[in-house]
C-alpha cells in the first residue's frame, strides 16, 4: 500500500521533537532504530494491526494530558520481599528505590551504563529489530531510539527475590520512554514485577533474552489512572528448555496497547503469555501477541480474558506462527470476553500461520454476556445478584490468573480484581 504523506510528516515531526539521549555504546543501535522508524513510519488506522485501535494519541507529538488518579488501595506487591526500583514519571527515584544489589544479578540503569564494553551493547535493540518482521512495530523502534532510561539486568544465577519496578505518575503531561533489557544466562532464574501507571503517556519496551534452561517470570499490573495511555512491548527470545511466563492485569486506562513478541528458538522451550483486563467506560485495551515457533517440541499458551462494561472496548490480536521444521509444536491460544452490558465491544483477530505438519495447534475465541443459567443457579442458592455476577466474573478471569505461578502473587491479583468489581464505578 502506498504510504501517505501524512504518515511521513507525522513520523518526521515526532522524530524531530525528540533527541537521542547520551553518548556511548547505545548510540549506533539508536541511530539504526531512527532509520527503521523512518522507513516504516508511525502507525495509522490503515495499518492492518491498528485496525481496531486508533494509534493517533500514541503517535502524536504532544501527549494528551492525563489527570493523576488518587489511588486509595495499598500499593501492589508491598508485602513481597523484593528489590524495588522506582521511576516517577520516567525519572529514576534513588531515594524511593532499594539498593540495586542482588546476588546472582547485576542491575544497572541504561542512563548510567556508559562503559563501551557493556554486555548490553550486543542486545540493545536486537530483539526489537527481529520483532519488526513480519509485522512492523514502529512504536518499539521509536522507543529504542529515544528511551531516556530503563533497567539493564543481567542474571547469572537464581535470583533470591523478585525485582519490582514501580512506575509512579505525578505530572499530568509526562511523556515517558523507558527501555529495559534483561538477560538470563543458561540456567538462571528471575521474576520481574511491574506496576503503576507511569505517566500520562508511557512507551515501554522490555527485551528479554532467556538462555538455555533459564526461567523468567513476569507479573505486571498497569495502573488504575483512567486517563493514562500506554504502548508497551515485550520482546523475548527463548533458548532450549527455557521457560517464559508473563501475566498482565489491566484495570482502567483510556488507551493501552500491549504487544508481546516471543520467539522460541531453542528446542523444548515453553512460553506462556496471559492477560486479564477489566475495563469500564472510556477504556480501550489492546493485546497484540505474536508467538513464533522456530524449534522442535516447544509449547506455547496464550490466555486472554477481558471483562468490559459501560462502553469499554477490548481488542485481541494473537498469532501462533509455526515455522517450517518446528515439528512437535504444541500451540494454544484462547481469547474471551465477557460483556457486562450492551455498550461494550470485543474485537478479535486470533490467527494461526503454520508451516510444519506434525503440530497440534488450536485457538478459540468467544464473546458473550454472563451465563443466565449459572446466574440463576447461584441466585437459587441464595447468592444475591451482584455477588453472583462477581463470582461468575472472577471465575471467568481465573484461567488467565492461574498462569501466575506464585500463589502470593496470584492472590494479590485476585484481590485487585475483586476490588474493581466491588467499586462499580458510574
Amino acid at each position: 500500500m502506498a504510504r501517505t504523506a501524512e504518515k511521513t510528516n507525522l513520523t518526521d515531526a515526532r522524530i524531530a521533537a525528540l533527541s537521542i539521549p547520551g553518548r556511548g555504546w547505545s548510540v549506533p543501535a539508536r541511530e539504526d532504530a531512527v532509520n527503521r522508524l523512518r522507513a516504516m513510519g508511525l502507525p495509522d488506522r490503515r495499518d492492518e494491526y491498528w485496525k481496531y485501535t486508533r494509534p493517533d494519541t500514541l503517535t502524536q507529538v504532544t501527549p494528551e494530558p492525563a489527570a493523576v488518579f488518587e489511588n486509595d488501595e495499598a500499593p501492589l506487591f508491598d508485602g513481597i520481599d523484593r528489590v524495588k526500583i522506582v521511576f516517577v514519571d520516567g525519572v529514576f527515584d534513588a531515594e524511593a528505590s532499594d539498593d540495586l544489589s542482588l546476588e546472582g544479578v547485576r542491575i544497572e540503569r541504561l542512563a548510567e551504563a556508559n562503559s563501551d564494553l557493556h554486555w548490553a551493547r550486543d542486545l540493545y535493540g536486537t530483539l526489537e529489530t527481529n520483532g519488526q518482521t513480519p509485522v512492523a512495530r514502529p512504536l518499539a523502534a521509536l522507543n529504542t531510539a529515544f528511551a531516556t532510561d530503563g533497567m539493564l539486568i543481567h542474571v547469572t544465577g537464581a535470583a533470591s527475590k523478585p525485582i519490582s519496578i514501580v512506575y509512579r505518575h505525578e505530572s499530568t503531561t509526562s511523556d515517558v520512554i523507558l527501555h529495559h533489557l534483561i538477560k538470563l544466562d543458561a540456567g538462571a532464574e528471575l521474576t520481574v514485577l511491574e506496576n503503576g501507571p507511569a505517566a500520562a503517556r508511557f512507551n515501554k519496551v522490555m527485551e528479554v533474552e532467556v538462555g538455555d534452561g533459564a526461567s523468567f517470570h513476569h507479573v505486571r499490573a498497569q495502573g488504575r489512572d483512567h486517563e493514562r495511555r500506554a504502548a508497551t512491548h515485550v520482546f523475548a527470545r527463548l533458548g532450549a528448555e527455557s521457560t517464559f511466563k508473563s501475566f498482565t492485569l489491566t484495570v482502567n486506562g483510556v488507551m493501552t496497547r500491549n504487544d508481546c513478541v516471543i520467539e522460541l528458538t531453542g528446542d523444548d522451550a515453553s512460553a506462556h503469555v496471559a492477560g486479564a483486563c477489566v475495563g469500564d467506560g472510556a477504556f480501550h485495551h489492546d493485546d497484540t501477541v505474536f508467538v513464533t515457533h522456530d524449534a522442535v517440541n516447544c509449547e506455547s499458551r496464550q490466555v486472554f480474558k477481558k471483562v468490559l462494561r459501560n462502553g469499554a472496548t477490548g481488542v485481541f490480536q494473537g498469532k501462533i506462527l509455526v515455522k517450517a521444521g518446528a515439528q512437535k509444536t504444541d500451540g494454544y491460544q484462547i481469547s474471551q470476553s465477557l460483556l457486562l452490558d450492551e455498550d461494550s465491544q470485543f474485537l478479535a483477530k486470533p490467527e494461526l500461520e503454520i508451516y510444519a505438519d506434525d503440530v497440534a495447534c488450536s485457538h478459540g475465541s468467544t464473546s458473550g454476556a454472563i451465563d443466565e443459567d449459572a446466574l440463576f443457579y447461584l441466585r437459587s442458592r441464595g447468592v444475591p445478584l451482584a455477588e453472583a455476577t462477581d463470582m461468575l466474573t472472577l471465575s471467568f478471569l481465573a484461567e488467565a490468573v492461574e498462569e501466575i505461578e506464585a500463589e502470593t502473587l496470584r492472590d494479590e491479583i485476585n484481590t485487585r480484581m475483586a476490588a474493581w468489581l466491588g467499586r462499580r464505578r458510574g
Binding site: E342, S344, F346, A348, I354, D357, A360, G368
Partner: protein, 511 residues
Amino acid sequence: MMTLDIVKEQDNVKDGVDQDTVDAVREVGGKYKHGWSTDIEMDYAPKGLSPDIVRLISEKNEEPQWMTDWRLEAYDRWLTKTEPTWAMVDYPEIDFQDQFYYARPKSMAEKPKSLDDVDPKLLETYKKLGIPLKEQMILAGVEGAEDAPAEGRKVAVDAVFDSVSVGTTFQAELKKAGVIFCSISEAIREHPELVKKYLGSVVPVSDNFYATLNSAVFSDGSFVYVPPGVRCPMELSTYFRINAENTGQFERTLIIADKGSYVSYLEGCTAPQRDESQLHAAVVEIIIEEDAEVKYSTVQNWYPGDENGKGGIYNFVTKRADCRGDRAKVMWTQVETGSAVTWKYPSCILRGDDSQGEFYSIAIANNMQQADTGTKMIHLGKRTKSRIVSKGISAGKAQNTYRGLVSMHPKAKESRNYTQCDSLLIGDKCGAHTVPYIEVKNNSSRVEHEATTSKVDDDQMFYCRSRGMDEEEAVALVVNGFCKDVLQALPMEFAMEAQALVAISLEGSVG
C-alpha cells in the same frame, strides 16, 4: 510406495494387478482429468481493456444503453482502484492489458434459433465433462427432449462455454412455475426492470478491484428469479468452463428469491489444461427476501497448474448474499479443489430479523496451489444466526488460508455465531493458516470461534493400512472423514462428485 508416475509409465504391470486399476491410474495419474481443450473457432475481441472493449462487449450482448453506461462507469471506477495485496497468495503480476476480455464460440455469432445449430464440438465438450444430463440430449437439440422422462432428479443447466450461455434447458417447466432462469444477457434484454433493481445492489460496482473489473467486462452469467411463494421445482445448475487460451472469464450471476420462495443452485467448474495462467473474476449476487431460502453449492475444480506451479487458473471471486427480509436463509457450500490461486469469500449480510447464514467449505490445496478463502457473516438484524464450518487441507507445497469475519452490530441483539475452522496438513512443506476477524458490538449475542491445526492422524492411517489400503487410499479416506460435516451439506449429486474430487485432488501428496 510406488508413485503414480511409475505406474503410468510401466506398460508391463505385475501379475495380479487388475487391468481396470491400471487404466484408472493411467487416466488420473498425475494428470488433470479435464485437461483437454476443444478446438472450436473463437470470436475474440482484441486483447486489452479500454472503454471501446467495454462498449464492444455490451454491443455484442445487444445491451440497452443504460447497461453500457453502467459498465463504463464501472470501468472508470476500476481505473482508480488498486489490486488488493492482503491475501496470503503470491503470484506474478497480472498484466490486465494482456488478456482477452471477450471470447465466444464462432458458431454463436449468429444466435441459434434452436439447439440444433449448436456446434457438435461443444456438445462433445459437455459429454467429456460428464454433465449428468438428459440435458445432453436437450443441448444436442433433440426435438421434444423436454418432454422425455428424466432419469432421477431433475437438474436444469445453464451451460456457460467461455463467455456465452449456449443453451438453457428445462425452460418450459421452470416457466410454468414462474421461475426465470436464463443467461444474464438475456435477462438484461427481457427483464430489465428486475436487473436494474437488483444488479449491483449486493456487490456494489466499486466493491473491490475484481468486482469492479467484472462489472465493466462481464460477458455473461446466469440469472435466476423465483417469484413469491414458489419452491423451484428442480435444482438449478451451471457448469462453467474456461476453454479459450488467455481468456479471462467474467461471469455475473444474479439470484433473486422473492418472499417465501426456495431455490437450490449448483455451480460446478472444470477447465482444460493450459500453460499460461488464466484470469477469472466472477461476481455472484443473491437477494433473499422475507421467508425465502437459497442454497448455493459450488464444486470448483479448475486447472490448478502442474506440480511446479506452472499454469493454472487465477480465481478472484466476489460472492455475497443479502438476507433482506425477516427469516431469510442462505447456505453457501463450497468444495474448492482447483485453481492455482483462489481468492474467494462468499458472504452473508443478515439484515432481516431472524435471518440465517451458513457457510460450509472444503478447500484443498496441493502441489503449488494457494487458496485464501473464507466468509463474512455480517449480523445486522435481531436474533440472526450464522454458522461457519471450514475444512482446509494442505499438501505438497501448497498454502491454504481461512480468512473470515464475524461481525455483530450493536442492533443485532441476541444473535448467535458458531465457527469451526479445522486445518489438516499433509507433508512438511505446506502451510495452513487461519485469519479470523471477530467483532462483537453487543452483549446479548454469543460468538464462538474454534480452530485446530493438525496432521493426518497416525493411528487412523495405521488402522487403514492394516486393513490393506494403500497410503493414498488411506489418506483419501481419512480426509473424507475430516470433511464429512461439509460433504453432508452438499446436494446429493455434488456430494458424490465432491468425495471423488477430494481423493483425486490429493493424489501424489503422500509417499
